[in-house]
């Protein structure tokens, strides 16, 4: 499966247009008119939303025009191989964020780096684990010890006596 430029352009234009609609809806709820003491709270977002919809439509039309004018052998925008790489990396990011929210930043980070070094970097598991844990310890030292900024912790840190 490959993604063509037209698909990406059209989808993005549609998404930004919908964002504009959402903004207009939100602004309309607040009121976008004029009161005795000046513009209402929704005034600015309403017109900005209108501009956004206008620009999105323009981009959509341009994408269509380019699509009609394009020749048959168009270079694929995202070839299958690249798309797979992006999907894999994004999935890893998603799992990382979910794990971080459940287990805290330190465990999430150590796990992610270990997994990546082990499965993708081809390092042996003990070495990978060392890199991951080492990075987490470095984070702890820099943020909690040096700058006194607490990072998100999960259920595991209290067991080790770290709050």
């Amino acid at each position: 499966m490959t993604v063509r430029r037209f698909h990406a352009e059209a989808a993005t234009a549609a998404a930004t247009g919908i964002l504009g609609l959402i903004a207009i809806y939100g602004a309309a709820e607040l009121g976008f008119g004029w009161e005795d003491h000046g513009p209402q709270a929704g005034y600015f977002p309403f017109y900005v939303g209108l501009l956004l919809i206008g620009a999105s439509l323009w981009n959509l039309i341009r994408a269509f025009v380019a699509y009609r004018a394009a020749t048959a052998e168009e270079e694929p925008f995202l070839p299958r191989e690249q798309l797979m790489r992006i999907c894999k990396f994004s999935a890893a990011l998603l799992i990382f964020v979910a794990a971080t929210l459940m287990l805290g930043i330190y465990v999430g980070t150590a796990g992610y780096i270990t997994w990546s070094a082990w499965r993708q970097g081809g390092y042996r598991l003990p070495v990978s684990l060392g890199i991951g844990l080492g990075f987490s310890v470095a984070l702890y030292l820099i943020f909690e010890t040096l700058f006194r900024i607490p990072l998100l912790k999960g259920p595991i840190e209290p067991l080790l006596g770290i709050y």
Binding site: I22, L51, S90, L93, L101, I113
Partner: protein, 501 residues
């Protein structure tokens, strides 16, 4: 006091052991973020801002601006040695820098790049020094309509002068403005555009958005290409360094022209990226042996580097004097100023001369520190790029998410980083410019407030934006910047059907 006396006071503030140490740290950290893919100047500065809350503003801005210069230098290193631009603004450096390094002259290429970058930066700072007093006096006459006109000018310049399609710039700008209006409205006190999500009540932090857009977005772009670093030898030979420095005066015309282009593009919101491309293009046209460009011509390195750095430094002037940043990094720094409780603009010069002139003086010193440090550490940072991506990639991801978390200690921000990472990747791929989005997020509130106040003054008539010579001339320049460049392009396209970028 004249500018010169103020500058000397500034040097007194900048040259303290503490500040010199901050400069060295800032430049080194900047080199790291400049060299690594996925960490650029805008999000490097965003990541650092939460750590500066404990510093006083002068020290904090010295640290952040030094990091910016370091990132600009670091971007050139990878362009030349690996053909991978570490920063968007050093793309033009790869055209001649990498071929020269490939032919065994990497020391010469690097020295040319760093020296002309340093010269460009110094040209920029000198212009700032000369113009700072004047710009702030000028800006003292500003009221709400004038401020709105200046914001309008900044937005219009992005749309008119940017290299991207105007409609795409418009999308980027308006999305930024909408994101800025989420949460509590400072004028009416109403809660806006939260749609019942309590996480959105406090608004969306531009720092989180920048970390997503530039950090994760750039990383995704790197992943898509499937990383293969093929570097050339990165030893620095001291004798070559001096020989190259002796060679520099030969390129005085290129240097001067590129510096001026950079200064112009830095003060107007063209930004360093546009400046370096423009300067490279003009150098190629001006050269009599035009064909040899792209094969390792020294002018091909001098031109983009000088313009890149003079634009980078000059971007600080409109930020300080008017509160209108002209590059993404300057926008982030300005956001930082506001977080530290300072209001950028003419009053800053009157109320905080120590801050302003300390910063300007530090720009002289930290750029010199930068040139020396970058030459000394090239082998180290080149070695960093040889770490496999399977290790360095997740580390950059972790740093981005940790940085976003430190902004507001909110777990919702982690999702935002992920979301804006995907948005940043897509926008980059489809040639939507990202800088206007950041600028709009930082300026959104101020632009809206200025508009609101103007409307109150005029009882809702747009005529107030043309009520006196000052505000109307700013508006006219804004409208001209919006329309004229595209008209010129259209004219050129009609005359010459096959347009070349």
């Amino acid at each position: 006091m004249g500018n010169f006396d103020l500058l000397m006071t500034g040097f007194g503030i900048a040259i303290t052991p503490m500040h010199l140490m901050l400069m060295v740290c800032g430049v080194l950290m900047g080199l790291v973020v400049g060299v690594l893919p996925g960490l650029g100047a805008p999000n490097g500065v965003s990541l650092l801002i939460p750590l500066t809350f404990t510093l006083d503003p002068t020290s904090a801005i010295i640290l952040l601006s030094s990091m910016y210069w370091g990132a600009l230098f670091g971007g050139s290193t990878t362009s030349i040695l690996f053909n991978i631009p570490g920063e968007p603004s050093s793309v033009a450096t790869t055209f001649d820098g990498y071929p020269m390094a490939q032919s065994g002259q990497s020391t010469r290429a690097l020295t040319l790049a760093f020296m002309s970058a340093g010269i460009g930066a110094l040209m920029g700072v000198i212009v700032i020094t000369l113009l700072a007093g004047w710009a702030s006096n000028f800006a003292l006459r500003f009221g709400a309509p004038e401020y709105f006109a200046v914001y309008f000018l900044a937005f219009a310049a992005f749309i008119g002068m940017g290299s991207a399609s105007p409609a795409k710039t418009m999308v980027s700008l308006t999305v930024g403005l909408l994101l800025a209006s989420v949460g509590m409205d400072t004028v009416t006190g109403e809660i806006r555009l939260t749609y019942g999500f309590s996480e959105l009540l406090g608004g969306i932090s531009f720092l989180v958005v920048v970390i997503g857009l530039f950090g994760i977005g750039e990383l995704l772009a790197t992943v898509q290409e499937g990383l293969r670093f093929r570097g050339v030898a990165s030893r620095i030979h001291l004798r070559d360094v001096f020989r190259t420095i002796a060679e520099l005066p030969r390129y005085w015309a290129t240097t001067l022209r590129s510096g001026l282009i950079g200064i112009w593009m830095g003060i107007t919101p063209g930004g360093p990226t546009a400046a370096s491309f423009m300067s490279y293009g003009i150098a190629r046209q001006a050269s009599r042996k035009g064909a040899a460009f792209g094969t390792g011509r020294p002018e091909g390195i001098v031109a983009p580097e000088t313009a890149d750095h003079s634009a980078g430094t000059c971007a600080m002037l409109p930020m300080l004097a008017l509160g209108v940043p002209s590059s993404a990094t300057a926008a982030v720094m300005m956001g930082g100023l506001m977080i530290w409780g300072l209001t950028p603009g003419p009053m800053l010069f009157a109320t905080k001369p120590d801050f302003v002139w300390g910063l300007i003086a530090s720009m002289y010193i930290s750029n010199i520190v930068g040139v020396i440090l970058v030459l000394a550490t090239v082998p180290l940072f080149a070695a960093m790029l040889r770490i496999p991506f399977a290790i360095i990639g997740p580390m950059i991801v972790a740093i981005c998410f940790v940085g976003a978390y430190t902004v507001g200690s909110s777990t919702f921000d982690l999702w935002l980083v992920l979301l804006f990472g995907l948005v940043g990747y897509l926008f980059n791929k489809l040639d939507y410019p990202l800088a206007p989005l950041v600028l709009a997020m930082v300026l959104g509130h101020k632009a809206e407030n200025a508009f609101h106040q103007s409307m109150l003054l005029s009882d809702g008539s747009l005529g107030i934006f043309f009520a006196n010579p000052l505000v109307s001339s700013i508006m006219v320049v804004g409208l001209a910047l919006l329309i004229v460049p595209k008209l010129l392009q259209l004219g050129a396209r009609l005359r010459r059907p096959a347009t070349v970028e």
